[in-house]
C-alpha cells in the first residue's frame, strides 16, 4: 500500500502540471462517451422511420379494396390506415407515426441527425486523442529527464553498490511500462469508467427493475475477471523470473562459448540448458494461457447476461407480473447488456499494464528517495594547493563492518609526487576515492592546506582535483568532445595542445576525421592504452592543481606503455600528485613512495631509500618486476 501511495504521488507530481489538459481530456471523454451511448438511439430512430415508411408503403399498395358487392373502391391513405386500425393490424399509436412517415422527410431528418452526431463525435474523439498524444509523451519525457537529473546528484556509493543493469532498467522497461500504460490503459480506463457510469445511469432512467437484472451478474464477472488477472500476473511473473534465469544462462554460456569449446564442455552446457528450458516450457504455458482466456470468458459472460435479460423480460411480459416492462424495453436492454460488458472486459484486460506502470513508478521513486551528494553550506573555496595535502589517521570502509584503511597518515607537499604501491586489495584505489570526496572517511580527515575536504565547496574541490582512472571511459561523441569533456568551451588550440602533451595527437591525426572522428565506449577506434592517453589529455586540459593517476598499464604493450609514461611525466611536471602505480618502473622519480599492504602503510621513502632496505617489501616487488637474472 505504501508503494501504491508513492506511485500515486509520483503520477500526481508529473501529471499535475498538465492539469488543464487533463480537465479538457476529462470533459471531452465524458462528451465522447455520452455520444457513443446516444448515437445508436439516432440510428434506431432512422430505422424505425423506415419501418413505418414501409408500412405506409404497404398500405398504399392496397388502397383499392374489393367491396363485398363486387365493385371496387379507392380509399384515401388516411382511410386505409383507419381501416387497418379497425382490423387490429395496426395499433393506434403506430397508426399515428405511420401517417407521419408517408414521405421520407422525417427519415431524412433523423439520418442527418445521426450523421451529424457521428461527425461531432469523431471530431471530439480526434481532439481528445491529439491532446492525449501530447500529454503522455511529454509527461514521460519529464519523468525521464527527472530521473537522469537525479542520477547526476546521487552519491558514488549508490552506483558502486547497485548494478548498472538494474538502474538502467528504470530508463528502459520501467519508463516504457509507464508510457504504454498512459497510451493504452490509464486514459482508456478512465473513459471506460465514464462509459459504465453512463450506461448504468441510462438503464436506471429506462427501468430500474431491468437495470438491476442487467447489472446483477457484475460482481460475479468482476470476481472471475480479477481471479483470472491475478493468476495471469502471478504466472507471468513466475515466467519472467524463469525466462530471466534461462536467458542469464544462455547469455553466460554463449559469451563464454570459446572457453566451452576449448575445454570440451559443450555437451555439459546442453545438460545445464535442458532443465532450465523445461521449466520455461511449463511456466510460459501457464502465463500465456491465463492471459489469453480473459477475453473469451468475459465474452461468454456477456452473452449469458444478455440471455438472462431476455428470460426475465419474456417472463415478465408473459405473466404481466411486473409493471412497465414492455417488449420494446427488452430489446433496448439486450443492447445495454452487451454494451455494459464491453468496458468491464476492457478495464480488466488493462489491469496488468496498470500494475506494471505502478510498479515502474514505485521503482523510479525509489531512486528519487536516495540521498544526494552534499556540498557544505557556505563551503570554503580553495585555490590550488598552497602547502600540502594531508591524510590524517584515516579510517575507512565501504561497509560499516569492514574497514579497509586502518589509520593512514600521509602528506604530499606542494609540487611533490607521491606514489602509492602495494598488492591488489591493499587499499590504493580507496585512498583516491577519499581525495575528491567520492566517499567520506569514517574517522580522521583529508585536508587541503589544513582545511577538511568536507568543509570545501564540492564543485570547487573537484575543480582543483583531476583524476585519471584505471578504466578509462569514453563518451559517445567526437574525439574532440571527449578531450574537452571537462571544459566544453575549450578552443581547438587548447585541445590539440593537450593531446600533444598526452602523446595522442599523432594517433588522432591519423584517424579518418581526425578530431571529429566519432567514438563511443564500445567501438574500437582506440586501444586500451590509447584510451588511457585520451583521458590523460582530458585531465591536462582542465589544468587541475592536484592530480590523481590510477595508472592502467597491465593490458598494454610495452610501446604504448612507454608513451603513457612520457605523457604522465608531462602532466605531472610541476603539479602536486598522487600516483597509484602497478609497474614500479613508472614511479622511480617519485618524491615519496608509500607502500600499502592490507590497508596499512608498511614502508615509505624514496626509491633509493626503499631499495636499501634488505628484505624490504618494496625491494622485493621491484626486483621481481625488473631484474631478469
Amino acid at each position: 500500500m505504501k508503494s501504491f501511495n508513492k506511485s500515486v504521488k509520483f503520477f500526481a507530481h508529473y501529471l499535475g502540471r498538465y492539469w488543464f489538459a487533463l480537465i479538457v481530456i476529462l470533459v471531452l471523454t465524458i462528451a465522447q462517451t455520452y455520444m457513443q451511448v446516444h448515437a445508436p438511439v439516432y440510428m434506431g430512430n432512422a430505422i424505425n422511420d423506415l419501418i413505418y415508411h414501409n408500412t405506409a408503403g404497404e398500405i398504399t399498395k392496397h388502397l383499392t379494396v374489393t367491396l363485398p358487392t363486387g365493385g371496387t373502391m379507392k380509399l384515401t391513405f388516411a382511410q386505409a390506415v383507419e381501416a387497418a386500425v379497425q382490423n387490429n393490424t395496426l395499433t393506434k399509436s403506430i397508426a399515428k407515426v405511420v401517417l407521419d412517415n408517408q414521405t421520407l422527410s422525417t427519415f431524412y431528418k433523423d439520418i442527418l441527425a445521426f450523421v451529424g452526431f457521428l461527425g461531432a463525435m469523431m471530431v471530439i474523439q480526434f481532439i481528445n486523442a491529439i491532446i492525449q498524444a501530447i500529454v503522455a509523451p511529454k509527461s514521460v519525457n519529464n519523468m525521464r529527464k527527472g530521473l537522469f537529473a537525479k542520477m547526476q546528484r546521487m552519491t558514488v556509493k549508490y552506483f558502486d553498490s547497485h548494478q548498472d543493469g538494474d538502474i538502467l532498467a528504470r530508463f528502459t522497461s520501467d519508463l516504457d511500462n509507464i508510457f504504454n500504460a498512459m497510451n493504452q490503459a490509464i486514459f482508456q480506463a478512465f473513459a471506460q469508467v465514464v462509459l459504465i457510469i453512463g450506461i448504468i445511469w441510462q438503464m436506471f432512467n429506462e427501468s430500474s427493475k431491468m437495470a438491476w437484472v442487467t447489472i446483477a451478474s457484475t460482481p460475479v464477472a468482476i470476481v472471475i475477471a480479477v481471479l483470472i488477472m491475478r493468476l495471469s500476473s502471478k504466472y507471468i511473473n513466475a515466467q519472467q523470473s524463469e525466462v530471466g534465469e534461462l536467458n542469464g544462462y544462455i547469455n553466460e554460456q554463449i559469451n563464454g562459448e570459446k572457453i566451452l569449446i576449448t575445454y570440451g564442455q559443450q555437451a555439459k552446457s546442453v545438460d545445464g540448458f535442458e532443465p532450465l528450458n523445461k521449466k520455461v516450457r511449463q511456466s510460459t504455458f501457464k502465463g500465456q494461457f491465463w492471459s489469453s482466456v480473459l477475453f473469451p470468458i468475459m465474452q461468454g459472460m456477456s452473452l449469458v447476461n444478455t440471455a438472462i435479460v431476455i428470460f426475465y423480460g419474456a417472463w415478465a411480459v408473459l405473466n404481466n407480473s411486473v409493471d412497465g416492462i414492455t417488449i420494446g424495453l427488452i430489446v433496448t436492454f439486450m443492447s445495454f447488456s452487451i454494451q455494459y460488458y464491453q468496458p468491464i472486459t476492457q478495464i480488466t484486460s488493462t489491469y496488468n499494464q496498470m500494475q506494471l506502470a505502478f510498479t515502474g513508478a514505485a521503482r523510479i521513486n525509489e531512486i528519487h528517495d536516495q540521498a544526494d551528494e552534499v556540498s557544505p553550506k557556505d563551503g570554503k573555496i580553495i585555490n590550488g594547493v598552497e602547502a600540502s595535502v594531508e591524510l590524517k589517521d584515516v579510517h575507512f570502509g565501504y561497509n560499516e563492518d569492514k574497514e579497509i584503511l586502518h589509520g593512514i597518515n600521509a602528506t604530499v607537499e606542494k609540487g611533490h609526487m607521491v606514489a602509492l604501491v602495494g598488492p591488489t586489495g591493499s587499499g590504493k584505489t580507496t585512498v583516491m576515492n577519499l581525495l575528491n570526496r567520492f566517499y567520506d572517511v569514517n574517522s580522521g580527515s583529508v585536508e587541503f592546506d589544513g582545511v577538511d575536504v568536507r568543509d570545501i565547496d564540492l564543485v570547487n574541490l573537484r575543480n582543483n582535483v583531476g583524476i585519471v582512472l584505471q578504466d578509462s571511459v569514453l563518451f559517445s561523441g567526437t574525439v574532440r568532445d571527449n578531450i574537452a569533456f571537462g571544459k566544453p568551451d575549450a578552443t581547438d588550440e587548447e585541445v590539440i595542445a593537450a593531446a600533444k602533451q598526452a602523446n595522442i595527437h599523432e594517433v588522432i591525426e591519423n584517424l579518418p576525421d581526425r578530431y571529429d572522428t566519432k567514438v563511443s565506449d564500445e567501438n574500437s577506434v582506440f586501444s586500451t592504452g590509447q584510451k588511457q592517453l585520451l583521458s590523460i589529455a582530458r585531465t591536462i586540459l582542465t589544468d587541475p592543481q592536484l592530480l590523481i593517476l590510477d595508472e592502467a598499464t597491465s593490458n598494454v604493450d610495452t610501446v604504448t606503455e612507454a608513451r603513457i609514461q612520457k605523457a604522465m611525466d608531462n602532466v605531472l611536471h610541476g603539479r602536486t600528485s598522487f600516483v597509484i602505480a602497478h609497474r614500479l618502473k613508472t614511479i622511480l622519480g617519485a618524491d615519496k613512495i608509500i607502500v600499502l599492504k592490507d590497508g596499512e602503510i608498511i614502508e615509505q621513502g624514496t626509491h633509493a631509500q626503499l631499495m636499501k632496505k634488505k628484505n624490504g617489501f618494496y625491494r622485493e616487488l621491484y626486483t621481481n618486476q625488473t631484474v631478469f637474472e
Binding site: M43, G57, T172, V293, G300, M301, F438, G466, T558
Partner: protein
C-alpha cells in the same frame, strides 16, 4: 516459415484442436447477430416459446464460445511454448556444435539475442497464428456471406469498405513502421547515454560535468518525445478514420435502403438492416485486426529468418571419428599459413617450428604479431589455410576431439568464469577431479590463498559475470582450471597479466616442479614472464623472427632486444 514445419508436424494435434476451436468460436461470433435479431422478431411477434428457445440458444452459444475460446487458448499456448522451447533447444544445441569461426561470424552477443528475443518473437508468432490467422478468414468470409444474404443489393458497399480500409492500412502502416524504426534508434541512444553516465560516473563528477550531461541527455529525450508525439498524432487520425468509414457506410446503407424501398416497399429488407450493419462492422474489425496481425507476424517472420540462419550454419571444423589416444606434448608446425575468416590478410605466414614434449616455451612479440593466433591453432580452434600442425606426432586433422581437448589446455587472457561454485569451474578442466586435485591445482595457481579464506572454500559461489572476484583472482582460478587435468600441453596466453610479479613467479615455479612432463607455452608481454623458458619464440608480423634462449636472443634478435630494453631496470635515473 519452413523451420516451423517440423514442429507443426510434431504437434499436429495441438494445431488441429486449436484451429477447430477458433474456427467454431468465430462461427459462434457470426451466428450471434442473427440470433439476436431472431429474438427481437420473436418478441415482436409475442411468441414467448420462440423467445425462450432462442434464449437457450444464446446461452448455448455463450457457453460454447467460452469453452471454445478457452480450449483455443489452451492449445495455442501449448503449441507456441512447445515450439519456442524446441526451437530454443535445437538452436542451442546447434550453437554448442559451433567452431570458433562460426561464433565469430555471428558474434556471441548476436547469438544471445537470437536465442532470446528472436525465439520470443517466434513464440508470439505461433500464438498469433493459432489465435487470429484462422479466426479472421472465417469472420471475413462468413461476414460477407451473411451480409450479402441480408441485403444482397448492397454488396458493393462491402467492396467499398474493403478498399477504403486497405488504403488506410496501406498509407498508415509504412509511416508507423518508419517511425517505430526511428524510435528504436532513440531508445538505443537514450540507453547509451544513461549507460555511459553510469559507467563514467566518477569522470562526470570529478570534472563537474553533471549539467552538461543533463543538457545532452535532455536533447535526445526531447527529440524522442517529438517522435512519440508524431506517432500519437498518427493514431489520433487512424481511429476516427476507421470510425468514419464504418459508421459512414452504415449511414449510407440505411439511406440506400430508404431509397430502394421508397417506391417499392420491402419490409424484409428493412428488418435486415440491423444485421447487415452489424456484419459490416464485424468485417471492418476483422480487417483491422488482420492488418495489425500481419504487421506483428512480419516481425516474427524476420526472427524466424534470423534463427534459420543459425540453424543452417554448418560447422566447417569437424573432428575425425577415430579412437581416443594419449597425445604427448610435442608440437610441430610445418609451413603454416593462417587467416581469420573475417580478415583479408593472413595473420600467420609460413610458420615452421617444433617443440619437444616437456619443453617450456615463451612467445613474445608486439601486439598483432600473431602470438594468440598461433596459440589457438594448437588446440585446433581454427584450421590453417595451408601447412600442417601435429600434436603428439599426430596431424590435427586426424585426431579425435576429446583426446585433443584432454591433451591441450589453453588459458586465455580474458579469464572467463561461469556462475556456480569455484569447484564447478575448476572441474571444467577435469570432470572427476577430487578435492585433493582442486587443492593441488589451486596451490600451483596461487589461488588457494584466497579460496581457503572463504568459509565454504571451494564451494564458494561465483556470481554472474564473476563480479565477486578481482581480475587477478579470476586469472588464478582460470590457470588452475587449465592445469588441473595435468595436460600434455598447457598454453598460457598472457594469462598472468593481472597477477603481481611475486605471484607470477610462484606460479611459474609451481608449474616447473609439479608439471614436469608438461609442455608449457607462455605468451607474454613481459620478458620476465618468459625469461626462464627453455626457448623463446619471437614473433613479428605473423612470422617467426627468431627462436632461442634469452641469452641467445639478446645477441641475435633485434626485436627481442628492443622489448627487453624498454623493460629492464633503469639504473639510477
Amino acid at each position: 516459415m519452413s523451420i516451423l514445419k517440423p514442429y507443426i508436424k510434431k504437434y499436429w494435434y495441438l494445431v488441429v484442436v486449436a484451429v477447430i476451436a477458433v474456427s467454431f468460436s468465430a462461427l459462434a461470433a457470426l451466428w450471434q447477430p442473427q440470433l439476436l435479431s431472431k429474438v427481437i422478431t420473436a418478441i415482436n411477434d409475442k411468441n414467448m416459446d420462440k423467445v425462450t428457445e432462442y434464449g437457450w440458444q444464446l446461452v448455448a452459444i455463450a457457453i460454447g464460445g467460452l469453452v471454445l475460446g478457452v480450449v483455443n487458448a489452451f492449445f495455442a499456448a501449448r503449441f507456441s511454448q512447445n515450439v519456442a522451447a524446441d526451437v530454443r533447444e535445437n538452436t542451442y544445441k546447434k550453437i554448442q556444435g559451433f567452431s570458433f569461426a562460426n561464433i565469430e561470424k555471428f558474434s556471441a552477443g548476436n547469438l544471445v539475442v537470437r536465442m532470446t528475443n528472436d525465439v520470443q518473437q517466434v513464440q508470439n508468432l505461433s500464438m498469433l497464428i493459432l489465435q487470429n490467422i484462422f479466426r479472421i478468414p472465417v469472420l471475413l468470409i462468413g461476414g460477407i456471406i451473411l451480409s450479402v444474404q441480408a441485403i444482397h443489393q448492397l454488396w458493393w458497399v462491402i467492396v467499398v469498405m474493403f478498399v477504403l480500409i486497405l488504403i488506410i492500412l496501406g498509407a498508415i502502416f509504412p509511416q508507423m513502421g518508419k517511425r517505430f524504426g526511428m524510435m528504436q534508434r532513440f531508445i538505443d541512444a537514450i540507453n547509451t547515454k544513461a549507460k555511459e553516465n553510469l559507467q563514467g560516473v566518477r569522470v562526470v563528477k570529478s570534472f563537474n560535468q553533471q549539467e552538461n550531461q543533463e543538457k545532452s541527455f535532455n536533447e535526445t529525450s526531447d527529440d524522442m518525445t517529438k517522435l512519440n508525439i508524431g506517432i500519437g498524432y498518427l493514431f489520433a487520425i487512424v481511429m476516427p478514420a476507421f470510425m468514419f468509414i464504418g459508421q459512414g457506410l452504415v449511414s449510407l446503407s440505411i439511406y440506400l435502403v430508404a431509397k430502394i424501398t421508397e417506391t417499392d416497399p420491402d419490409m424484409k429488407m428493412v428488418a435486415n438492416i440491423t444485421s447487415f450493419t452489424q456484419y459490416l462492422m464485424q468485417i471492418m474489425f476483422a480487417l483491422i485486426i488482420g492488418g495489425v496481425s500481419i504487421t506483428f507476424a512480419s516481425r516474427g517472420m524476420v526472427s524466424l529468418g534470423r534463427i534459420k540462419e543459425v540453424l543452417d550454419t554448418e560447422n566447417d571444423l569437424v573432428f575425425k571419428d577415430v579412437p581416443e589416444e594419449n597425445l604427448d606434448g610435442s608440437v610441430e608446425f610445418n609451413d603454416v599459413t593462417f587467416e581469420y575468416p573475417t580478415d583479408e590478410e593472413p595473420t600467420l605466414r609460413n610458420v615452421t617450428f617444433s617443440i619437444k614434449s616437456g619443453e617450456t616455451i615463451g612467445i613474445v612479440g608486439a601486439t598483432g604479431a600473431g602470438k594468440s593466433s598461433l596459440s589457438q591453432l594448437i588446440p585446433r580452434l581454427f584450421d590453417p589455410q595451408s601447412g600442417s600442425i601435429k600434436v603428439g606426432g599426430v596431424d590435427l586433422r586426424d585426431v579425435n576431439e576429446s583426446s585433443l581437448r584432454k591433451a591441450v589446455k589453453l588459458v586465455s587472457q580474458k579469464a572467463t568464469l561461469f556462475s556456480g561454485t569455484i569447484a564447478e569451474n575448476l572441474r571444467q578442466g577435469k570432470p572427476d577431479a577430487t578435492l585433493e586435485d582442486l587443492k593441488w591445482a589451486a596451490d600451483i595457481a596461487q589461488a588457494s590463498e584466497f579460496i581457503e579464506k572463504y568459509p565454504d572454500t571451494y564451494d564458494h559461489e561465483v556470481e554472474e559475470r564473476s563480479a565477486n572476484f578481482s581480475g587477478g583472482q579470476k586469472q588464478r582460478i582460470s590457470i588452475a582450471r587449465g592445469l588441473i587435468g595435468r595436460p600434455s600441453i598447457l598454453i598460457l596466453d598472457d594469462s598472468t597479466s593481472a597477477l603481481d610479479a611475486r605471484s607470477e613467479k610462484l606460479v611459474q615455479e609451481g608449474l616447473a616442479t609439479q608439471l614436469k612432463g608438461t609442455t608449457v607455452i607462455t605468451i607474454a608481454e613481459k620478458i620476465s614472464s618468459v625469461i626462464n623458458a627453455n626457448r623463446i619464440i619471437v614473433m613479428e608480423n605473423g612470422t617467426i623472427e627468431s627462436i632461442g634462449t634469452h641469452k641467445q636472443l639478446l645477441k641475435k634478435s633485434k626485436t627481442y632486444k628492443e622489448i627487453y630494453e624498454t623493460q629492464k631496470a633503469q639504473e639510477d635515473k
